[in-house]
Point group: C2
Chain length 366, copies 2
């Protein structure tokens, strides 16, 4: 009997997410488990967002607003763009998937850094695109010059994570300006700014994707899962020209964003105090972790995000497993081809201390 699945689907390696706390508790029989694996906000959700969710609970038997009317209105004002330049997604992951689904057709090519956020590659494989991978520089940064060279007549889309995940590095305004000045007009540049807020507050030469919106073929995505602390609810958004947004809207499922996510996201934008507290906490604790790594002679990559890539110079899966036994979930970087690296999310001070102590023991033991 013939195999009915599309052949390109057989090549897709499913994404392996950070282990949930409950799963580790269940599998290892541990009680105290901390998760520093998925770049979540350790301070919780914005209290204003939580209030908005509570107020919306009475309506959960009704379909959510397909157009995300209020959230778009609020976001448009917040960003200084028009509502028809916005599309709301079930997380910013979905914006990536919708962009690929809307614009990429075999034999189109996409240009993707390696390693970087894995969803670019998965979404492109699902769409049967030809993928051109471009290695990072030696200091774990996007190599925009090489990425430019990988662009040819077949290239439809280039992904740029800024800041990048899992490295935490960012592309400077100068580098991005240079890239844009040389890229052909008919190549779409997708700027993934899931960690925008963290980079913006710390680095003056970090560019704001919105400044490139005057160009024809730019799509920007941002998230409420990171700095805004709403990962469980699934909400992110895309910004582009109205024509592109109209096309992408055609590939969106009508009720892709749940009611509680819409309400929470709109409220979170108003909670400036929470965002400020989050960014200050991350800055402070990043220094605490840098110091700890320095004391242990561990190399790490300076981060523009709420996580740090650390070179443990041992088999990262072994380090990951050993930390798990101590009730600390981090992310081993094997799936990204960084076999001696782990990625750790900035947690609460107590969590970060537990991680530092755990890692110290693990490094001695292994």
């Amino acid at each position: 009997m013939k195999n009915l699945v599309r052949q390109n689907i057989l090549n897709v390696k499913p994404y392996v997410p950070g282990k949930p706390i409950e799963e580790v508790q269940r599998e290892l029989g541990l009680k105290d488990v901390i998760k520093l694996a998925s770049n979540e906000n350790c301070l919780g959700p914005s209290p204003k967002a939580l209030d908005a969710v509570r107020k919306s609970l009475k309506d959960i038997n009704r379909y959510p607003d397909s157009s995300s009317f209020y959230l778009k209105k609020r976001l448009a004002k917040f960003l200084g763009v028009r509502e028809d330049e916005l599309i709301i997604g079930n997380g910013s992951d979905e914006i990536i998937v919708l962009a690929v689904k809307t614009f990429v057709n075999p034999p189109d090519e996409v240009v993707i850094a390696k390693p970087t956020f894995l969803i670019y590659e998965i979404a492109s494989q699902v769409q049967d695109a030809r993928i051109r991978n471009v290695s990072l520089t030696r200091d774990y940064k996007y190599d925009l010059k090489e990425m430019r060279k990988a662009v040819n007549d077949a290239t439809k889309l280039v992904f740029i994570a800024n800041p990048d995940n899992p490295t935490g590095t960012y592309v400077t305004k100068k580098a991005l300006d240079d890239f844009f000045s040389s890229i052909p007009d008919d190549v779409i540049v997708f700027l993934d700014e899931a960690y925008y807020e963290f980079a913006k507050v710390s680095f003056k030469d970090y560019p704001n994707g919105l400044d490139y919106l005057n160009r024809e073929n730019v799509i920007i995505s941002r998230s409420f899962s990171k700095a805004y602390g709403l990962a469980a609810l699934r909400v992110g958004y895309g910004i582009s020209n109205a024509k592109f947004i109209n096309y992408m809207e055609r590939t969106r499922e009508p009720f892709n964003v749940n009611l509680l996510a819409q309400a929470a996201a709109a409220a979170a934008l108003d909670d400036k105090a929470f965002l400020k507290r989050t960014l200050r906490h991350v800055e402070k604790e990043k220094k605490f972790l840098y110091d700890a790594f320095d004391r242990s002679n561990l190399e790490y990559v300076a981060s523009a995000t709420n996580f740090i890539l650390v070179n443990v110079k041992k088999d990262c899966v072994k380090v990951f497993d050993a930390l798990l036994e101590k009730g600390v979930i981090v992310r081993d970087m094997k799936a990204w081809g960084l076999d001696s690296f782990i990625r750790v999310t900035i947690g609460t001070h107590e969590e970060n201390r537990k991680f530092v102590e755990g890692l110290k023991k693990v490094m001695e033991e292994l």
Copy 2:
């Protein structure tokens, strides 16, 4: 400058959902508005589901479990299937989209009734499939004999909504058995059972899709948005053989189902009292509406769901608009090509009375 969008996307007609209550209040300046437009559960969500949501609120800064571990476990037990025979979606809409994305490749054909649930056509257009439409019978039922005839060597997938939306009719066990006995093994049959619970309780000859799972190429989808009253949260599921589920999992975004939806759905399965109350209410109020239509000499289609298709024998958009002015949102059937029909969801008794009175006046006035 060349148009960068995939050409098939230009043919996609975006889905137009039922108008939200807030939108009508805003646009028409009305205060009392009832919505009988989206086949939601008028009794609200299951109270047990609501409790589960409240308990999960503390974790909304964390990513949801990508594997929907607990919900799958609970569903597997509930349905008597294995966990690897299940996939959880952001509504059962998403199961439809994932099936098309996993299995359909141009120049594959799909067979779709006309009119029926619009997402089959939209998902197929987005995937650039060739669509073969097959008209319903004169009594608004799926014509499985004609659908069988539309199947050829290029056919990859046949959609069967059972019961159907927007007609409310269903395919009998005998008709489905006959269809399956003649369909080639390499054609996937997608059974959409979003309204399963309503049909099951009322019609002895309504088939349970699970009884066809012993066949190789069957995918079933079900929803928590209808009888379980959780439309706002977005959760539905697919059931198929483990191989198909594995393929579909590769095209699923890792965090497609939010945390609160997972918790609510698992709890809703335990709330047998709420489901019973819902089904009893719908049966009783359907009779109330049938009687009202009979008294007004309005033709309607006998329904196996929580909505009724009514032939108002006037321009349905005018009837829709006139009802809107009276604060009653129904669905005009123009987008389905049923130009003299409206579709009304079973509401609370008070809502149904308001609708009946409103419709009576509208029919006199127009």
